[in-house]
Amino acid sequence: MPYLRYPNISVYILNDQSTKSNTIGCLIIDDDPFIQDLLMDKLQQYFPEIKVLGKAMDGKQGLAKIASLDPDLVFLDVEMSDMTGFEMLSQLNTIGFKIIFITSYKHYAIKAIRFNALDYLLKPFDLEELKNAVKRYKETESPSTNLVLHNLKAQNAKDQTMILRTQQGELYIPLKDIVSIQGERNYSYINLVKDKKELVSKTLRSLEDLLEEKGFFRCHKSFIVSKNHIVSVRRSSIILSDMTEIPISRRKQDQFKKWQEE
């Protein structure tokens, strides 16, 4: 599978591990002292290569510590007393570290975390999940965190870029380029502008979950369409900008009309 890189998106690799020692400097940002202590103890016990550089109690303190400590990895609470983790990140100009979000339960923020192919851990931290997250941290060569920043600052969903993890690396797909998606069991074909196509190992359901509030609609059990690429609507089908005709399920027709009017 080709490794997509779009020229209009700047992906900076600021966190070049090869120039640093093997020690991973991390920062823990969470407003609960219990969580801070627990994570620090687990890291010290099971991950000697990770050094906790510091801890911060809220987003404001977190921003200051990021600037002064220059961490490689930040464990970031989704919901802090003064701001959310995403709000904190959007105040940065660039992100030179990787992020593992920490949260108490799978709430709304998880969708945003998945859309950006970021990692998260559920408190109070299962050891195996922590090990897997650290493993992924080490194995992911290209930090997409500045693309995440781009997404956080984008005013419209169509200006955002979906980041999908594949076995070959990360796939960056600007939402405005997606015309439709066709599901094939556990895989999906993402049909892009200029007749490009990507096959990804994601179910249509999981992609629908990521895209349903971003101008996309599942009009049929096998298809998702982009509102930006609808050219015309027939009685039970849609013509898209690539001139394909996509069926609308009978049971989805009312929902589709409502979605179009939104």
Binding site: F34, D37, D41, K42, Q45, Y105, K123
Partner: protein, 115 residues
């Protein structure tokens, strides 16, 4: 012990009594503070604040194995806006009773093993 289960605490402490003591004392300090905040939020009928306090507390309560407290907490976290005030009060009071029970057991454990 009725309310708490120290399995997780023993696992993270790995026979390090100082570390174990640290978590127990932290529980003894944080829980009364947060219970007080919870009572205040309930008096003020501040639903959002109740949710925030419970959200913050829940990992520590899970860690201390207070499993029977997680169901009412999760209900309050997800239904705090829509639940009737009567039910909200009942659930918060139920949680506070369990917190006090857990707190007594933690204090007793500290007294027996660390004093």
């Amino acid at each position: 012990m009725t309310y708490i289960d120290l399995k997780n605490l023993k696992a993270i402490s790995r026979d390090d009594t100082t570390r174990m003591h640290k978590y127990l004392v932290q529980f003894e300090q944080l829980i009364p503070e947060r219970t007080h905040e919870l009572e205040k939020a309930l008096t003020n009928q501040n639903r959002l604040r109740i949710r925030q306090i419970l959200h913050k507390m829940s990992p520590q309560l899970q860690f201390f194995g207070i499993q029977n407290i997680m169901v009412p907490i999760q209900r309050l976290e997800f239904e705090y806006e829509t639940m009737s005030l009567l039910e909200l009060e009942q659930l918060v009071k139920e949680i506070i009773v369990r917190l006090q029970g857990a707190l007594s057991e933690v204090s007793e454990y500290i007294r027996l093993h660390f004093e």
